[in-house]
Subunit: 441 residues, 2 copies
Amino acid sequence: MEDLALSLVKKRFGMEGGELLVGGVRAGALAEKYGTPCFVYDRRVFDEKLDALRTALPKRFRVAYSVKANPSQAILRHFISCDCGLEIASAGEFHQALQAGCNPRQILFAGPGKTVAELEVVLSNGIGEIHIESVTEAQRIGCICKRLGARANVAIRVNPACEAEGGAMRMGGRPTPFGVDEETLDEVLQLVLEDAALSFQGIHLFTGTQILDPKILVNQYRHGLGVARRVVSRTGRPLHRVDFGGGLGIPYFSHEHELDLTELRGALAAVFGEIESDPAFAGTEFMVEPGRFLAGEAGIYLARVNDIKISRGKKFLILDGGMNHHLAASGNLGQTIKRNYPMALLNKLHVPAEETVNVVGPLCTPLDTLARDVILPRAEIGDLFGIFQSGAYARAASPLGFLSHATPPEIWVDAGRDTLVTARGEFFGELPDNSHESTVK
Amino acid sequence: MEDLALSLVKKRFGMEGGELLVGGVRAGALAEKYGTPCFVYDRRVFDEKLDALRTALPKRFRVAYSVKANPSQAILRHFISCDCGLEIASAGEFHQALQAGCNPRQILFAGPGKTVAELEVVLSNGIGEIHIESVTEAQRIGCICKRLGARANVAIRVNPACEAEGGAMRMGGRPTPFGVDEETLDEVLQLVLEDAALSFQGIHLFTGTQILDPKILVNQYRHGLGVARRVVSRTGRPLHRVDFGGGLGIPYFSHEHELDLTELRGALAAVFGEIESDPAFAGTEFMVEPGRFLAGEAGIYLARVNDIKISRGKKFLILDGGMNHHLAASGNLGQTIKRNYPMALLNKLHVPAEETVNVVGPLCTPLDTLARDVILPRAEIGDLFGIFQSGAYARAASPLGFLSHATPPEIWVDAGRDTLVTARGEFFGELPDNSHESTVK
């Protein structure tokens, strides 16, 4: 087992007789009951992460869950029940949010390239706030509102003029399709303020992703406050909302450390303490919208070892699921260097790691490699394999149809009670009846 | 427009008034009728590619289409109607092949990690041939056959001891999860020959992918014949079938050249002429199973320019579809260096290219970049954008659910007649009725 996997087992899940527990249920029992491959989620871990984040954030902060990380209905319902808002990035996610019972007022819509059709749907259904990403979008929303006789709450998404990097701020952000460059913010602000159909709520800072250094986050938040202050001096009244985006990371590889929330808490307390009674921020609500941070650690991908073979001295474990269900773990989702996700043989947590193996999925392509040269206990066919940190950007971002295997079901486990929340799905319709003779004698 | 895109327009599709034609229909008319984003396929290009391949192959060769490249029912039906077999890599693909009307005898099943459940399904439904990839699989198929009272036609997939590289053969192939190492072939062969439930049909050579050099292919085929000859000397009778796999490439980037089929034809004629009356190959059928080569050039991904913005001097075209529909074009499917697929503004083929832009999709992630620094005619919102070479490993290998946009429909165009063959799909169920008050006044 890799170090990070072991520490996640200890910190988040626990074990019994060398076997992983998920929400108090043995992983092997879940695999037996629901079949493999599948994704399992532990409700307690969602709670732990949200509680820890809320503890670290100053007063006046509100949390929205970023739906794109994992749009499973069970997860959306959970965060709604925890009084989170939802941040969406498409009309499809808007529908999913409503299906989960979200009040549309609690939904924020960000993302480049919103279409007219998408904007019409969300505006007709009372969305809470739309984050404007370009001049075109400001004009487009105004036009649609006039047509529908609606008024839109809008914020402007700002692409900061400085970029967070290694704890320091580098001046001169990069070109990006997201948000409005800080340098040209005034033009869009003017458009928004002059359009009676648009109700200006505040700004949303486009920040990075997968940030594990509290200093970078705090610097971004401080910079965001500066941008907000300049907007306030322009509009002459405090903003309703300043949204600092997501970007809070979780460790995926053994060299990465968890985000230090104690340090983050202290630093944010200092920054936001300074502005507590500042009239520029009187009544302003602050917002973060993490996805990965809230959902990533709660999910595990389970697959079974279906074959073991040695080719030219290298041992391969062949699982019954692979990159079709977990593209990120195969290194094909933005990684330039393929690194191994935290993983383990879930029924052999007590057995010493002794074999260096490659772990691959069942797809007929060399891309379907989940781990290279990982050290595991000696494996047997039938062993249960698990990939940790798989609650976000795992199933959601995978080419589920590639090679037409069944889609993996999702199982929600809440303190000993497991529930199937997404059924296994097949990539074909009804089989033709008796269309061909069977050769079975 | 990039050079390769222009040459594909000329060679395969044609244009009218500066607008691309697909099967004789204007691309803009297809986009208007079916909406964007979508995939369009030109039947004539499928025919051209299959005809060209069959012309290049010696007698006694049979072609099977590799379903994983694109399992669209329309495409499977087309290749079945052209007297091709189908090569599948999962039970899901088996079902899709049967749905398309394929005789199960014409189906070959290859791929590592076939599960017991998959093998039971195909064996109960009279599959033509299973390619054995490991000792475990040989034993597993034998057991299932005994249980079902069936007999299986099997071939052994061989991982050659030499590797094709740059036109030369390198001795000492790599470790791989695919097939049985040539060096240890005898062990599996022994198992297969001794098991009365297994009917040994021949061998299947695991070869490379995306090969554009005829010399490499011919060397592989020659090596394969050598392996086959050794097996024949072991079994004492000619093989029913020698399968040379797929691996025939198509050009994706401007520095790549089309596979020279004239050269391939000449070289194969020489190699296979030598063995024409060789008793070791008396009655042997030869097989190739391309996917990309047959389907890749016939498909184009259509998306519309939904926004245009400039960030810090860089112009971005934001489309209504992106990596969620075409992961390969975003560089996140095995590429180490992001290169631009052949692409064009399909309604401005006559307009000189003059602007260097980045082309991105609508997803709220920097990974959703389809082209960096591509030179195109000056674009306007509403322009129709096309990515060529998108008939294989495009829609099929993409994370269609990522950010919950609708899945792209597929349109089949056959000499002026367009047909919707796969409908647009949404990632949500029924919307709750009146669950929330609309803000529209």
